[in-house]
């Protein structure tokens, strides 16, 4: 019996001590070995590690650090300005604007990986990027067997031979990769090992922005041959996978197959778990940007450069990047938990949960004294994005324009921004983000305002029209359903606000809370009536937002309001080939006015983000469009240690 008591005490003591032994900081961090390590959190799952299938901002954020495209964006210049990344200079465009010839930088290598073989010392090898790798990347995007979310939609009818390539690859089995060797893609050619040629079907002024997306990054053939045609055999080797069993896409389970030329590679990846980005040892010599000559810049660019100089963002000019060796990313959905890690100094940068906003930020939108005293800085920035409640105009009730206009007038967006986002957002007044240069010439929607009286009058008109059409019986309440993506408090409150404001018009609104894939499925199958949506700009051109209402894009999925207007389509086809200029801007304005009048959505906000960062964080400036900006970040390790940070 004596031993029983002794063992019991030992067991209890051991269990009590286990958390302290197993969850100590070194285990959490994996040890830093003198390297520069940072810790951060992310809140949404990473859906894709394959550039071809990238279609959400979280995946783009991860992929942007692993894969480089031909072009990218200057880190500090605003408005966003394209610069070469893997390309050796800007493209040469033929006089008819249909052929782009691009030289590649020489000596750019992929992150070392087993797919390239293993050296005598057991270390994985690498190889240089060649033009054929880009051809393969575009062939995969055009491949019938790969379901892309956005990458194909942007180039489908623009690059010559895409449809033919899709048709021909359909005849192959999914796992038969010989199609990439046998079937040519007419519009993308490797002229030589370091020269690429794109042939377009029609002038496409936005093509340079497409090439600036890391989704069009080169893919080495070795990745397919190693990771998609074989699998681990459980004995440290690999065994072949039968053609009928092969996948065509790099999956999240094969994170080692994410091989790019970017500054980082994945050394650990669990979707919805820990992600570890580690410096790519083979990363080329790249340097922190230097301030351009102010005399060569226009007014807006000059201002942005001057502001960056004043804020010390050019202090590291000319230094080799990346500065940080490892980035540990924890998956934390609860913003208050992420906030707790930030205030404890375990992460460097954090957004502000709405519950804590008034503690951290003053009524004049400045950082509060308590946080300033700790040296914490506040960064405010807008994003070229617009959120809205989309109306499915194919729905019998919502095909009524007066009803859509009435609903738009009835919702108090300013109150919505105040109550749900602590004022962190601007009311969207049309479908073009306000930080795009063309915004100044775009008409403001007369339905983008809160006017209960006007809403009521519009509602009377809508009711009369719906009754005349036999869609609503006299005296019957108009019943609508709002589908929201997510079941969090924010969505529930959004639903309650919509019920309140639409209810004042006599609308009986039913709110459905869905997970994000379910909402997407409903929208895709046109089963939703009203739904929360938004668009984050892929490139700094209003065309990227106007294409959301081009009727052929209903089939491609980007036009999910099912809006169809022949005149709008004609104008879109006209501007799609026009170079920037006053004439194109005037047509943009006409198109925006059509959307303003037809209200295929209830415009909500342009988001404004408030980010807090500890005093040891350097060079932090979110980019409105580009994603691979982590390489510019730096931390002052001494200061972090002295301040008790992680």
């Amino acid at each position: 019996m004596k031993y029983f008591y002794i063992i019991s005490v030992l067991v209890v003591a051991g269990l009590s001590a286990a958390p302290f032994i197993l969850l100590d900081e070194e285990n959490f961090a994996g040890g830093d070995d003198g390297k520069v390590v940072v810790y951060s959190t992310y809140a949404a799952k990473v859906d894709s590690l394959d550039p071809a299938t990238c279609g959400d901002t979280t995946s783009a954020m991860i992929q942007g650090n692993i894969y480089d495209g031909l072009y990218g964006y200057d880190y500090l210049l605003r408005p966003s300005t394209v610069e070469p990344v893997l390309a050796d200079g800007m493209p040469h465009r033929s006089p008819d604007r249909l052929v782009y010839t691009i030289k590649l930088k020489k000596g750019v290598r992929y992150a070392p990986n087993k797919c390239f073989g293993v050296g005598p010392d057991g270390r994985p090898l690498t190889r240089e990027v060649v033009a054929e790798d880009f051809v393969l990347a575009f062939k995969r995007i055009a491949d019938y067997h790969i379901t892309t979310r956005l990458t194909l939609a942007l180039i489908e009818d623009k690059i010559a031979g895409i449809q033919e390539y899709r048709d021909r690859t359909r005849a192959y089995r999914q796992g038969d990769f010989s199609r990439y060797d046998v079937v040519p893609l007419a519009g993308v050619e490797a002229v030589d090992s370091h020269t690429l040629r794109f042939t377009l079907t029609t002038p496409f002024p936005q093509f340079i922005y497409v090439l600036a997306m890391s989704s069009y990054a080169p893919i080495p053939r070795e990745v397919l041959d190693y990771y998609l045609t074989s699998e681990p055999d459980g004995k440290g080797g690999r065994r072949a996978v039968d053609v009928s069993q092969r996948r065509a896409v790099i999956s999240a389970g094969d994170f080692e197959a994410a091989v790019g030329t970017g500054p980082y590679r994945l050394s650990e990846f669990v979707s919805g778990g820990n992600i570890v980005l580690t410096r790519n040892e083979a990363y080329r010599e790249e340097y922190y940007p230097s301030p351009p000559d102010l005399a060569t810049l226009d007014e807006r660019h000059r201002q942005s450069v001057q502001q960056a100089i004043d804020e010390g963002l050019y202090n590291d000019a000319g230094k080799r990047i990346p500065f940080i060796d490892t980035n540990y990313m924890q998956f934390i959905q609860e913003d208050t938990t992420a906030w707790g890690l930030f205030t404890a100094g375990r992460t460097d940068v954090s957004g502000i949960p709405s519950q804590m906003f008034n503690t951290a930020v003053t009524p004049t939108a400045e950082i509060s004294g308590a946080f300033r005293a700790k040296g914490i800085r506040l960064e405010k920035y807008g994003s070229p994005a617009i959120y809205w409640l989309a109306f499915n105009v194919d729905d019998p009730l919502l095909s009524n324009k007066s009803l859509r206009q009435a609903l738009s007038l009835s919702f108090d967006v300013d109150r919505y921004v105040d109550v749900l986002f602590n004022g962190r957002g601007r009311r969207a007044v049309n479908i073009i983000p306000s930080d795009m240069p063309e915004f100044a010439d775009m008409p403001v929607s007369r339905y983008a305002r809160y006017d209960p009286q006007a809403a009521m009058e519009k509602m009377k008109q809508a009711r009369a029209e719906l009754e005349a059409a036999g869609l609503v019986a006299p005296g019957e309440k108009i019943k609508l359903t709002l589908d929201l993506g997510g079941r969090e408090n924010m969505q529930r409150r959004m639903g309650e606000m919509a019920r309140y404001y639409f209810g004042r018009l006599g609308v009986d609104l039913h709110v459905e809370l869905n997970d994000w894939p379910t909402l997407q499925e409903k929208v895709h199958n046109k089963r939703a009536q009203i739904y929360s949506m938004g668009w984050h700009s892929d490139y700094p051109d209003p065309e990227n937002f106007l294409q959301l209402f081009y009727s052929p894009n209903i089939m491609r999925g980007t036009n999910n309001t099912n809006y169809s207007n022949k005149l709008f389509d004609q104008l879109y086809e006209q501007i799609a080939t026009m170079d920037p200029g006053p004439e194109r801007t005037a047509i943009y304005a006409r198109m925006v006015e059509m959307i303003n009048e037809d209200c295929p959505q209830l415009l909500l906000t342009e988001p404004v983000s408030f980010v807090l960062m500890h005093p040891w964080v350097r060079n932090y400036r979110p980019h409105p469009i580009g994603y691979g900006t982590f390489k510019y970040r730096r931390v002052d390790q001494e200061l972090r240690k002295a301040a008790g940070g992680m």
């Binding site: 519950q355 804590m356 503690t359 079941r487 408090n489 639903g495 309140y500 459905e512």
Partner: protein, 324 residues
Amino acid sequence: MTMDAIQHQTSAGGAEPVAQRGASLWADARRRLARDRWAMLCLGIIAFYVLLALGGAMYEALAAPEGGIPTFEETINFDQSYRPPSLDSLRNLLGTDWAGRSVLLKTVLGAKVSLTVGLMSNLIAVPLGLMLGAAAGYFGRRTDAVIVWLYSTMASVPGIVLLIAMKYAFKNVTFLGLNLGGIHGLYIALGVTAWVGTCRYVRAEVMKVRELEYVLAARAVGRGNVMILLRHVLPNVLHLGIISFSLGVVGAITAEVTLSYLGLGVEVGMPSWGTMIDGARMELHAGRWWELASAVGAMFLLVLALNIFGDRLRDALDPRLKNV
């Protein structure tokens, strides 16, 4: 013994000796409960909640959009958001929520939802458990095997997982004009997952009862199985159903709170304690405690009262404890 006599004995308490002083089982239980101060206090609390729920229901029936009494949704006043509790007015007695609505009114309406959920789900679960348990216990053999297999399978799946699965399955399903994605689906999901306990108790009790003399006598005089089950067996295990009901309400209320907390409970716009707790838990960081405290306090008191009353009711209806 004539048939009337059998029936008389059956209704008076089955196998146990006839109650002292000639009182029936129910009359005796009533008398014992009436003497139990704690049981009476809890019953009073439950009655108070029922009155609150009735008041909430009456409010919802009388309130009409654009009418004299504003609906709960029409009480939104964003200028009054997050007012702490004060004695200024009845509206602000328990403070206001994020939309400026009275937390007191929300709590009262939450009581209606919770009690309705408890009542409706048990109106499904208890009869289901009673009938299946009685059939399994009385008929035995294959009937018993099938029912035992069914409830063993149900019991092997964690209740909350089953509930969540059913709520997902009911999404966008309409049955007899009822939207099962909302509160009606919640009644059914809770009802069809909560019958197992009742079924087990009743099955065991019926297995005992079916061997008793008055049942054998009924069988001997040619009564059919269904008639014996309905007239002689079920009335003698009914007290198990009542006890299950009182304790099942507690389970349903807490399950509703859990599901609402997970975002799978009542519809948006319908106040319930679960959605209040879910909505207010993050507000604690900002020092706004009153909504969470109101919902948790209201639920705690009701659950405690139901638990104690259910316990005392079980004691009162247990013939073996008659003379304790």
